[in-house]
């Protein structure tokens, strides 16, 4: 047991928060398995001290303004994963489409798409595992196949993507296993389509008001933003031929344009109930959301501007990637803010009736 000094006490106290004398009572209760760290670290934030007596508003009641929902416990790993998984998925999808063309001229782009897909999806999977409360138990995700849980579906998609992409990359140039490589290329492309869009379902299929109201938009928004990132990243390589440059430029432009359009759609979908859309207009999440909108618009402008210099492609690609990154964090923080606002849930549910 650790030594804990309560903030207002003079003497240190030895406690695990239970204070059970194990000489008298055995620790066998259902909560006795909870691992406990020193109490000071987990002190709740005190409420602001009241200056005036509280006036409850009977027509718009809350419980002292306290959150009704629990905020997501996810750290920054998770929105970073949305970004990386999106980039990997869309990149693999583009790689499979290029592979369908069966042209020697574009085989370099296929390899680069596999490369981006492998790196981004593997790092992304690592981040997801790090975010678990018990990272060593990540394989428990594979205990069940549960279509009602987007997290479970995502785990299966994510488990399949890097192996398929690695096999595609490895066997693409071997003469003996070329067929296997090609099949794996298409499989990774198919899984990539799911990987870059399912995260929208993951956040849309929750009780958090702003995510729930955006559930029809989010998968499309994330898919569009993934396409612009993947195109932008692939465009930054320096040894692309003219045909490959045209492909990634078109992919980036279509993705960025769809991203701009879907952001507007998201604004519209979440403004049906005023309180629900607030996090996308205010605070950190609002700033990120507006920043993401600006960045993807800038990425679109740079991408469609004529010119074939690599500098232009690097600027356009960076803007697209930054925009997508800001977008995922905006959605993440908007969810946190929305969970903390009890009125968002209450107003939404009252309107539904």
């Amino acid at each position: 047991m650790s030594e804990i000094r309560y903030p207002d006490s003079t003497n240190p106290v030895f406690t695990d928060g239970r204070d059970i004398d194990t000489g008298i009572g055995a620790l066998v209760g259902e909560g006795s398995l909870q691992r406990v760290e020193p109490v000071d670290k987990r002190f709740k934030q005190d409420a602001d001290v009241w200056r005036d007596l509280p006036h409850s508003n009977p027509s718009d009641a809350t419980y002292y303004g306290r959150p009704m929902l629990k905020a997501p416990v996810w750290a920054a790993y998770v929105p970073t994963y949305y970004f990386l998984g999106g980039a990997a998925g869309a990149s693999l999808a583009l790689g499979a489409a290029v592979q369908l063309d069966r042209s020697e001229a574009t085989s370099g782009l296929v390899r680069k798409a596999h490369w981006v897909g492998i790196v981004a999806s593997s790092i992304g999977a690592g981040f997801l595992i790090l975010d678990l409360g018990r990272p060593l138990r990540f394989l428990n995700m594979m205990r069940v196949f549960r279509p009602t849980s987007p997290m479970n579906m995502g785990a299966w998609i994510l488990a399949g993507t890097p192996p398929a992409a690695i096999a595609a990359g490895l066997f693409a140039r071997s003469s003996m296993f070329r067929m296997i490589g090609e099949v794996c290329g298409y499989v990774s492309g198919f899984l990539g389509l799911a990987l870059c869009t399912y995260t929208g379902v993951l956040v849309g299929n929750t009780a958090i008001p702003v995510w729930q109201e955006g559930r029809r938009v989010l998968p499309i928004l994330f898919g569009a933003s993934a396409a612009s990132t993947a195109g932008g990243m692939l465009g930054m390589f320096n040894d692309l031929n003219a045909r490959e440059r045209r492909i990634v430029r078109a992919f980036t432009a279509v993705g960025a344009a769809a991203e701009v359009a879907c952001s507007k759609w998201m604004d519209h979908a979440t403004s049906r109930v005023e309180q629900v859309g607030l996090p996308l207009r205010r605070g950190l999440s609002g700033a990120l959301w507006n920043g993401a909108g600006f960045l993807s618009l800038a990425a679109l402008a740079v991408t469609i501007t004529p010119g074939r210099s690599r500098t232009k492609r690097i600027i356009g690609g960076s803007l697209a990637a930054l925009g997508s990154f800001a977008l995922r964090f905006a959605v993440h923080y908007a969810g946190e803010a929305s969970a903390r606002d009890p009125k968002a849930s209450f107003h939404l549910q009252r309107t539904r009736r």
Binding site: R35, V36, F43, S56, V73, R134, M151, L202, V217
Partner: protein
């Protein structure tokens, strides 16, 4: 095995917090730190990973309809996991850690949970939470260990006014209906049942732990119309199909665009 549950009659709760203490003691849950909220007598604030019963203290400038003491009333309500008939946490759990027991309750298996945190955002009541230092999600177990020994859950056993009643769900529903009628006869017209049946609350298809309230659910920090997220999730899956098709089309289109550039 008949479905077991709680009927919490908030009109006879006296705010003694015996349920909170009994729950902590029996389940050997650690404390949450000793914080002073300054907002009311409620320093527990909310249900959480180590707090499976929470008594809400509501001070209202409104009189109850059978009350003559002036424009004030004090409401208490002991909140708990609702063990929903359609449980958001259970349906969203990617590991199968959260299960439906033989008593109809929703139980988190701590030896399976890997702490992904998805149940936390899928509970429309904000009940289940992940404990940072432990890493896993925890909530009320309906005292599964006590039920196995034919005992009443600790909170209900310790409630001195029978505000918390435990039993077979069908019987509890009958008792609750009779209680509401009695209250209406006594002049407390605002009494009603919250989540007592699937018709009452379609979004969750009924709660195994339901409540008798005398004001809007919001006042007790309960959602007025909770819906298990999976019921709306279909919209998101449909959009995902459209999104995947869109990305595929964009990819193929870009390749064709690239090919056209070579020819021209």
């Amino acid at each position: 095995m008949a479905t077991k549950g709680f009927f919490t009659d908030t009109t006879i709760c006296i705010g003694c917090k015996a349920c909170e203490v009994a729950c902590k003691q029996w389940n050997q849950l650690p404390d949450d730190g000793f914080a002073f909220t300054a907002m009311s007598y409620d320093n527990t604030v909310e249900l959480g990973a180590s707090t499976w019963r929470h008594v809400a203290f509501i001070e209202r400038p409104v009189a109850l309809s059978n009350q003559s003491a002036g424009a004030f009333s004090w409401l208490f309500s002991s909140d708990v996991c609702k063990h929903c008939a359609r449980a958001g946490c259970l349906e969203s759990c990617p590991t199968g850690s959260i299960i439906r027991t033989e008593y109809g309750s929703v139980y988190v298996q701590p030896d399976v949970c890997n702490g992904c945190g998805y149940c936390v955002v899928n509970c429309p009541f904000g009940v289940i939470d992940r404990r940072g230092d432990d890493g896993r999600a925890w909530k009320c177990t309906l005292c599964y260990d006590r039920l196995r020994e034919d005992m009443t859950p600790a909170c209900a056993k310790h409630c001195p006014t029978a505000s918390i009643q435990f039993g077979d769900l069908d019987e509890l529903r009958e008792r609750a209906k009779a209680r509401v009628e009695k209250l209406h006869e006594a002049g407390m017209k605002e009494a009603y049942l919250y989540g007592a049946s699937a018709e009452d609350q379609q979004g969750t298809e009924g709660l195994n732990a339901f409540f008798l309230l005398v004001d809007k659910p919001e006042v007790y920090n309960l959602p007025p119309d909770p819906v298990v997220p999976t019921k709306k999730g279909k919209d998101a899956w449909k959009s995902m199909a459209a999104a995947a098709a869109g990305v595929a089309l964009a990819a193929v289109g870009s390749v064709l665009f690239g090919r056209a550039g070579v020819r021209s």
